[in-house]
């Protein structure tokens, strides 16, 4: 029982039957997380990030989705649990922050009322008590004059304030697990920085487990202890922040790093993009899903095209899904990739 994690996702699969075929949005995903720690999930559009997070909250339950695998939260399994039980955990034990705070809040109810509602679902208290609690929460997330702003409607808030209010709503029941799906993508940089600071502070205060989902490697690096890189519904690399940023071993991760212009380095002459575009989730490429875009595929002697690589431990919990051997990968990183990323350093 010593290796029991607070959140433990095992071989999660979420497939959607559609007219065009079966969409394998999440296809055998495993990861784990402890209280007080942050996991960053990165990946391109359509790689299955949002479907994963909604899956943990059980929001695909009862729909058309085919779900299998296990999600253990604090010793309880959620995939097989009843919908009603999972519902009772939502908002209380696990909460979520969404990308677009304007469309994610109901336009007809005041911000305060929406927070009160979130509190009273799980606490049998009077409206007055809940109101006081909500105002405290608004204050906590840095909304000035919270008593007055309590009665404002979402459209009367600025983008940054709305996201603060969303955070207040998510944290009002002191959840143990907080999932933030692209929490700052819709915001300006200066406001994004405020929100990231706020999330970091609150996470420390609440000692919650935090999953932050984004396509921005910068944002993950700011907050995460561990990072999961997704491609075509699968994890292709999983490790600590240092594993991913200092000794990445997967060709796709290399590609992401090479694609990004960076402010903390001298500008490189050219960016090093990944060729092609993300895979279809219906007709997933054979073998390694990344092989049509991978520059190193020829070095696997055809295996990349025919065999699906396993997610294998490289060293100390750093997992990589690639047919290249560990030594090959490390050699490529040190001699072919890293020098190019820092070309003019």
């Amino acid at each position: 029982m010593t290796d029991e994690h607070f959140l433990d996702v095992k071989d999660l699969r979420i497939h959607f039957p559609t007219d065009d075929g079966l969409v394998k949005s999440v296809d055998g995903l495993s990861f784990h997380l402890e209280r007080g720690k942050t996991l960053g999930i990165v990946g391109e559009s359509g790689s299955g990030k949002s479907v994963t997070s909604l899956g943990i909250l059980g929001l695909h339950k009862g729909g058309h989705a085919k779900i299998s695998g296990e999600i253990w939260l604090d010793g309880e399994e959620l995939v097989s649990a009843s919908l009603d039980h999972v519902r009772s955990l939502r908002g209380k034990k696990m909460a979520m922050i969404f990308q677009d705070p304007l469309s994610s809040m109901h336009p007809y109810y005041s911000v305060g009322d929406q927070i009160v509602e979130a509190y009273r679902v799980h606490n049998k208290v009077t409206k007055q008590v809940a109101r006081k609690h909500a105002i405290d929460m608004l204050d906590r997330v840095g909304i000035p004059q919270p008593e007055r702003r309590f009665d404002s409607y979402p459209h009367e808030f600025s983008g940054g304030m709305r996201q603060r209010a969303m955070i207040a709503m998510a944290l009002v029941n002191n959840p143990d697990l907080l999932i933030a799906d692209e929490p700052t993508t819709a915001l300006d940089v200066t406001v994004q920085a405020q929100i990231l600071d706020l999330m970091r502070d609150l996470q420390r205060d609440f000692n919650a487990a935090l999953i932050i989902i984004t396509h921005d490697l910068g944002v993950v690096a700011e907050l995460s202890d561990d990072i999961l890189v997704m491609y075509g519904g699968k994890a292709i690399e999983y490790g600590t922040g240092a594993d991913i940023f200092e000794r990445p071993e997967h060709p796709y991760t290399w590609g992401l790093l090479g694609s990004m212009p960076r402010l903390d380095r001298e500008p490189t002459e050219r960016l090093l993009p990944i060729k092609g575009s993300p895979p279809s989730l219906i007709n997933v490429p054979s073998g390694c899903a990344f092989h049509p875009r991978c520059a190193f595929e020829p070095r696997t002697h055809g295996k990349g095209k025919s065999e699906v690589p396993e997610l294998i431990e490289s060293e100390g919990g750093h997992l990589v899904r690639c047919h290249l051997t560990r030594d090959e990968r490390r050699a490529i990183w040190e001699t072919e990739i890293k020098p190019n990323l820092e070309a003019t350093l």
Binding site: E44, S45, S158, G159, G160, M161, D188, V189, T190, V191, Q192, A193, Q194, L196, D197, H215, D216, L217, G218, V219, V220, A221, E222, G241, A242, F245, E246, G255, L256, L257, G258, S259, M260, P261, R262, L263, D264, P267, R270, L271, L272, P273, I274, K275, S277, P278
Partner: protein, 340 residues
């Protein structure tokens, strides 16, 4: 220093705000409020700033998709500020715009060939081997397969659609391309492809770019010079290297410091500037220095006197009473004396 292809002086665009049945004007959104800059032949000028600061409006003004409220736009020595649509026709060949959304800016019912070939037909341009051949050449140039001539936009991915958009602007060999957020709707890996493409095309075709974006890293990568906008004003304008190495305007400093860095090593040690609050409404911007409500260096004078945009170091213009990283008095060029 090469000559100016486009120069803009005191450019303004105010959108009236009306109310009620009678459309009484109750105010104006000062989307662009007196900006001056020039774009030199062969260079890339980057324009950055937060949402609503007037970047897109600036782009639409200099391509004359909209008419300015005040100020002057001079393209190749001709004042085009208030030119009629008819007279603008030849200009439309020389100045092209690339839009942010590669989905909605292409007509879904037209083939790629029709889309990219449209400028030839509209402008009545004769081509040596026919329009089809010319279009296929351009498709090859932007990295699309010339055989895609008869396909429709929905058959392409986001990155490919943006390539189609770029191909369309290239058809008539424009002199100036204004790209409004050309990569922000694209995935990281695709962004890099498009950025590289823009750079390659610039070298091959001797293009001049104005690139509008909110992503500071992309702008640094692609630009020679960069203008930083805040609430309809340019607050700093400098060579890319100077601006990113020694930003002088407090807002530029804050912007740069807010960008999350994809590196876990230095994250605790980095010094950060955190601005309070959001950008104020351009309907009712703060008086004098518009940044004073969020500026940590603000003093009384900032609320009363608007700081002019002046050159504090060679080619480095700043609008601030108390700039950061300002050179010692002696180093500054002569005009800087005019401050205060």
């Amino acid at each position: 220093m090469s000559e100016a292809l486009l120069s803009v002086d005191g450019l303004q665009k105010h959108f009236p705000v009306t109310k009620g049945l009678l459309k009484r004007q109750v105010g104006a959104v000062k989307a662009v409020d007196g900006i001056s800059f020039e774009v030199r032949k062969g260079e890339t000028l980057g324009v950055v700033g937060e949402s609503g600061c007037g970047k897109t409006t600036t782009g639409r003004l200099i391509t004359r998709l909209i008419e300015p409220t005040g100020g002057k736009i001079v393209f190749e020595g001709r004042d085009i500020s208030h030119m009629s649509q008819g007279k603008l026709r030849p200009l439309r060949r020389d100045v092209q715009m690339i839009f942010q959304d590669p989905y909605s800016s292409l007509n879904p019912r037209h083939t790629v060939g029709a889309i990219v070939g449209a400028p030839f037909r509209i402008q009545g341009v004769q081509t040596e081997h026919g329009v089809k051949r010319a279009v296929q050449d351009i498709l090859a140039l932007v990295g699309l397969n010339p055989e895609h001539y008869n396909r429709y936009p929905h058959e392409f991915s986001g990155g490919q659609r943006q390539r189609i958009g770029i191909a369309r602007t290239l058809a008539l060999k424009p002199k100036l391309i204004v790209a409004d957020e050309p990569v922000s709707a694209l995935d990281v890996s695709i962004q890099a492809q498009v950025v590289n493409l823009l750079e390659d095309l610039q070298n091959e075709l001797d293009l001049t770019y104005v690139v509008i974006a909110h992503d500071l890293s992309v702008v640094r990568h692609i630009s020679d010079r960069v203008a930083v906008m805040y609430l309809g004003k340019i607050v700093e304008l400098a060579d890319q290297k100077d601006l990113y190495k020694s930003p002088m305007h407090p807002y530029t400093n804050a912007l740069l410091s807010a960008v999350p860095i994809p590196d876990v090593k230095g994250r605790q040690g980095r010094e950060r500037i955190r601005l309070q609050g959001d950008v104020p409404s351009p309907l009712n911007p703060p008086p004098a220095c518009r940044f004073h409500t969020r500026c940590w260096k603000a003093q009384e004078i900032c609320k009363q006197v608007e700081p002019p945009l002046v050159e504090l170091a060679t080619g480095h213009e700043v609008a601030c009473h108390f700039p950061e990283n300002a050179p010692a008095k002696g180093d500054a060029p002569a005009e800087a004396g005019a401050t205060a």
